[in-house]
Symmetry: C2
Subunit: 112 residues, 2 copies
């Protein structure tokens, strides 16, 4: 989880994850999407993502194709969801206590 959350903390890497979410994308094609940074910089990000087990790599001839590896996100998602929902249910409980007999509107979950 540590590696995954650290990897996901960087905006460029998040953008890469979005790119490779639905389909395999070659390193070159990924790099094209980030004209502001150099190819080696992108390559480093890809290495970080691979090390965090957030992407799979497939070598095909000259090229390397990257693709999101969703299992790598499981622990991170679980952690955040646990934090998020446990605390929301607490807020909900407090609201009930405060307003006492009031119609239960769960606006918190609506803020997504």
């Amino acid at each position: 989880m540590d590696d995954a959350l650290r990897a996901v903390a960087d905006p460029t890497r998040r953008a890469i994850l979005v790119l490779v979410r639905d389909r395999e994308v070659s390193a070159g094609e990924i790099a094209e999407r980030f004209p502001e940074i150099s190819r080696p910089a992108v390559s480093q990000h890809l290495r970080t993502l691979a090390a965090a087990r957030l992407v799979d790599v497939r070598r095909a001839g000259n090229r390397r194709f990257y693709r999101l590896r969703p299992e790598g996100l499981a622990e991170a998602v679980t952690f955040l969801e646990t934090m998020w929902s446990a605390s929301l249910s607490r807020l909900q409980h407090e609201a009930e206590q405060e307003e006492h007999a009031h119609t239960g509107d769960q606006d918190a979950k609506g803020s997504l």
Copy 2:
């Protein structure tokens, strides 16, 4: 989201979030849980979490009480969940194609 994910990338800050998930905890009580780092270091982490809107602060006399602010996690959770589920459904789809007419067991979501 950027601030939230960057804040959550640090293990000490994640541990703090767990501490303040279910109840208010004073800065001192939080600091006690981390004997390996100095009080000012903890204070800095708390400032980072507050800046990311991940915790609320309540001043009561001498002390300051911190508490998880779940709304601050909303965007981050949404992002990770979207990545996670979209990609899992793709994997599921591929599995269906491979195995063809097979009973659709969604074991992926069960890994939570």
